[in-house]
């Protein structure tokens, strides 16, 4: 620890802390443009000048480490004047177009000019104009506004790992330019908007749509993947206007991926706002009573094994818990939350979550990725892997199809059989795992959902035991889920009950062959609806997607922005999403629908309101009650065995921008699919 004096205050900081960081830690405001907590230091804006006694000139506090006995001043006249002069220089070429700028009202330059600048410009020179750059469907550029802080360059280089932006030409002519015009080939491009301190890079999809001060802000959780990124939902009236990240050091740091950020316009399209009933092949709008009555009739005297329910990827814990209670009331053993058809052993919680946590990646020294493309399955896990790579001293290996992960890795093998080679130490990567201090394995959910998934899962468990992945205080065995609902569903035991309960594939096969009469889809859209035979399909969800198209009854429920719900992310970390806007039209909360339906069937559920439901749910799965706390899972042997397939593992989704019903309804995601994905796919 170092002791120094800032503004006549004795302050103690850790060695290596910059003056700016020391000030921030002690609530002393230092204006800055180029400095960003998560990026390297550029020292180019000169806004963070402070005075250090015995130093002849003012120093930039972002790049000056604290030293013992330093006496720093941040508020005297000399600094005020210097800051005002820096501000004047930054504004030399900055247009006075705040009234038409989308950043207006939430602009660092505006705020700091107001706080630290002069009230007028003394420049009589002509201002320069810079041509706007084409950066694809997500980012709008007004390059004349750029103040050359180079945050965007550093973000692309360091976080996104796609060095595509650069500062071309020099001095007065410097321009931030992409290497070639066209979309930024990164799944994290939207963060450029966030880090730009001026209006040079703004969101294209919501250009001129709102002013930041008009928005109501609700803290919530993202459901586009299983990372559970912390987000803030900004709404106006009953409409979600934008989604921005919230800081969570353990999960997403300050970033979110483009799907999280921009798929929210899908909430305005293809919505189910009232119940529908299929009559003579067409879905017709009906009342809740009629819809429930039809279902109750269908369920009346139905043998319980002829009913099944599948929960989709966006389902929250409350919905699944209510559904399970409903099915229990009907004595149905057929239920599954794994619509991808995964059948690997879930008897141990350690066998289906990311035990090391996302932040644990930073401690690992050998990382083996098995059948996963984290870049598109969990972009922020990939960002963390890249961060680990930049820290140095890590070996990363990949089993699966080679792809661009934005950091170098060793390609260990193509198929699941490679895992056996590692087990038998036939592959040199095994030596790395053996010698590692903190080895880590990340098994992709898609690979574990294949036909040889149970075998692969077992082999990975054996690998974990063979190389002692689960050590004291660090469990390196990880399953990287890709669906927001999965861990929650498994935690609640939304899986086939008893010996004869059918899993997802079993239910579909039974429907196809007529052994299952009623299939209840709880927002399940990501499976093939063609082969459901003559089954009566109830779809409960919020988008008119694949499930609703096949359904015989459609029950509208709120999307994730319209309800309070628990989600458990891939780490096993329970978090709570909050309602930002009201449900659309006649939509009813999932659990309320099930309570009504149970009543219509003459059954009763053990809860009548949301409070009771949550209490019951937390009683069934106590860890859901401790929000944001990751339970430590006991290590135990798991796995059902089986034979590994030689078939190459395809890692990564078929289309990053279209993985659930919300993004499939989003015009922005459709545009990304057309313009970005073909290029990004080539990259990845």
């Amino acid at each position: 620890m170092i002791k120094l004096t800032i503004d006549a205050r004795e302050i103690e900081v850790e060695e290596g802390t910059s003056i700016l960081q020391a000030c921030t830690q002690n609530d002393i405001e230092i204006p800055r443009f180029c400095y960003h907590e998560k990026l390297s230091i550029a020292g180019s804006c000169r806004m963070c000048l402070v005075e250090v006694e015995k130093m002849p000139k003012l120093v930039i506090s972002c790049a000056m480490p604290c030293a013992a006995g330093m006496v720093v001043h941040t508020q005297n006249d000399r600094i005020k004047r210097a800051r005002a002069e820096v501000m004047a220089m930054l504004l030399l070429n900055h247009p006075l177009d705040c009234p038409v700028c989308d950043r207006g009202g939430a602009c660092d330059l505006q705020d700091l000019a107001f706080a630290y600048g002069w009230d007028r410009s003394c420049s009589k020179e002509e201002r320069r104009q810079v041509c706007d750059k084409e950066l694809g469907p997500l980012i709008k550029t007004v390059m004349t506004r750029c103040i050359h802080c180079t945050r965007c360059l550093r973000f692309m280089d360091e976080i996104a790992g796609v060095p595509s932006l650069g500062g071309l030409y020099r001095g007065e002519d410097l321009e931030i330019t992409p290497v070639s015009e066209g979309p930024i080939l990164s799944e994290l491009a939207g963060n450029l908007i966030e880090i730009c301190p001026v209006g040079a890079l703004t969101a294209k999809p919501d250009a001129f749509a709102f002013r930041p001060w008009e928005l109501e802000k609700t803290d919530s959780i993202d459901v586009m993947d299983a990372v559970g990124s912390n987000i803030r939902i900004d709404t106006r009236g009953n409409k979600v206007m934008r989604i921005v990240p919230r800081l969570h050091e353990g999960i997403n740091e300050t970033w979110i991926n483009d799907k999280t950020r921009f798929a929210c316009d899908g909430l305005n399209y293809q919505r189910l706002d009232r119940p529908y009933l299929r009559r003579e092949g067409r879905l017709e709008a009906v009342s809740w009573d009629d819809a429930l009555e039809v279902i109750a009739k269908k369920l009346h005297n139905l043998p319980p094994e002829r009913l099944g329910a599948i929960a989709g990827d966006l389902a929250d814990c409350e919905s699944m818990f209510a559904m399970k209670a409903f099915l229990k009331a009907l004595d149905t053993p057929n239920m599954d939350c794994r619509q991808d058809g995964a059948l690997y052993d879930i008897s141990a919680r350690a066998g289906y979550v990311m035990n090391s946590r996302i932040s644990g990646i930073e401690q690992a020294d050998v990382i083996l990725l098995v059948g996963t493309n984290p870049r598109f399955e969990a972009s922020l896990v990939n960002a963390r892997l890249r961060k680990r790579f930049l820290q140095g001293g890590v070996k990363i290996g990949l089993i699966g199809s080679p792809c661009n992960l934005t950091y170098p890795y060793e390609h260990v093998g193509y198929s699941a059989v490679t895992v056996r080679d590692l087990l038998e130490e036939k592959h040199p990567f095994a030596d790395l795992l053996k010698g590692a201090r903190r080895p880590m394995l990340i098994l992709g959910a898609a690979a574990a959902a294949r036909a040889d998934g149970p075998a692969l899962h077992t082999a990975c468990c054996e690998l974990a035991e063979r190389f002692n992945l689960a050590r004291d205080g660090f469990n390196g065995f990880n399953v990287l889920q890709s669906a927001a609902s999965r861990v929650g569903g498994l935690d609640l035991g939304f899986v086939p009950q008893g010996k004869y309960g059918l899993a997802c594939a079993g239910m579909r096969a039974a429907a196809q062959t007529g052994r299952l009469d009623v299939l209840y889809l709880l927002g399940a859209d990501e499976m093939d609806m063609k082969y459901l035979g003559k089954a009566f399909v109830i779809y409960q969800g919020h988008h008119g997607d694949l499930g609703a198209q096949r359904a015989d009854v459609v029950l509208p429920t709120p999307a994730y922005t319209e309800k309070d719900g628990h989600y458990v992310n891939t780490e096993g970390r329970p978090q709570r999403a909050r309602r930002a806007v009201m449900p659309l039209g006649q939509a009813q909360e999932d659990w309320a629908v099930l309570v009504m339906l149970a009543q219509a069937c003459g059954k009763s559920l053990p809860f009548e309101n949301a409070d009771q439901l949550r209490k019951a749910m937390i009683k069934a799965a106590p860890h859901l009650g401790a929000l944001d706390e990751v339970p430590v899972n006991m290590w135990q042997r798991f796995g059902t065995g089986g034979s590994l397939s030689l078939q190459k593992m395809q890692n990564g989704p078929a289309n990053f921008y279209m993985t659930d019903s919300i993004c499939r309804a989003s015009p922005t995601m459709a545009q990304c699919t057309r313009e970005v994905w073909p290029l990004l796919q080539g990259e990845g």
Binding site: D157, P163, S164, L165, G166, G167, L168, Y169, R170, D173, E175, T177, P178, V179
Partner: protein, 196 residues
């Protein structure tokens, strides 16, 4: 200065065999893992092979050769005025316009060239032989005014001597111009009677 446009549409570039060898020799000057340091020399090598200017292809090629992101090579290429991002004539005439040369008559030189070649600063002659450009200090103030033509410096010039040089170049000769007895000095040496 106008920002130069990055030229496009040039044929695909690659180093000739002897340039390959030179490039490898240049890269070998730097420690292992620091190949990116060879960026500027290799861009220069590429420019020499590519008729005096760097096409997009050439920059991409060099970046690829050194395994650095293309944008880093573009940054270097666009930063230094010695790299040309637009095609230039066979002879690139760079007139120094910084104070000493300007005092010693660089404006007259500029006017003489513009009249002789019929072009303005920044332009290339129709026969693609000459490109005229103004530059800041060439570092030859001792013999101002100075002009750089490709790699050669021509110093202590007058409009007449400069035009003679241009004419010789146009004929395909390589003129040697070593001015003596300019203001009582030979080349940049001191006056005869003085030690310094």
């Amino acid at each position: 200065m106008m920002a130069m446009a990055l030229s496009t549409g040039q044929p695909v570039f690659s180093f000739q065999p002897e340039a390959q060898e030179q490039a490898r020799a240049i890269v070998a000057r730097y420690p292992e893992g620091r190949q990116a340091s060879a960026l500027a020399p290799l861009l220069d090598l590429a420019q020499r092979q590519n008729k005096g200017f760097l096409s997009r292809d050439a920059i991409f090629y060099v970046a690829d050769f050194l395994d650095v992101p293309a944008i880093r090579a573009f940054e270097v290429a666009s930063f230094y005025s010695m790299f040309n991002l637009e095609p230039v004539g066979l002879y690139l005439i760079q007139i120094c316009r910084t104070t000493p040369c300007w005092l010693a008559g660089s404006d007259d030189l500029k006017k003489a060239i513009e009249e002789h070649l019929g072009l303005k600063v920044g332009q290339t002659s129709e026969d693609k032989l000459f490109t005229l450009r103004e530059v800041e200090c060439l570092g030859a103030c001792v013999n101002a005014p100075a002009v750089q033509i490709n790699d050669d410096y021509y110093e202590a010039l007058t409009p007449e001597t400069l035009i003679a040089i241009l004419k010789a170049l146009a004929r395909g000769e390589k003129p040697v111009y070593a001015p003596c007895n300019v203001a009582g000095r030979c080349s940049c040496a001191c006056k005869k009677e003085k030690t310094c």
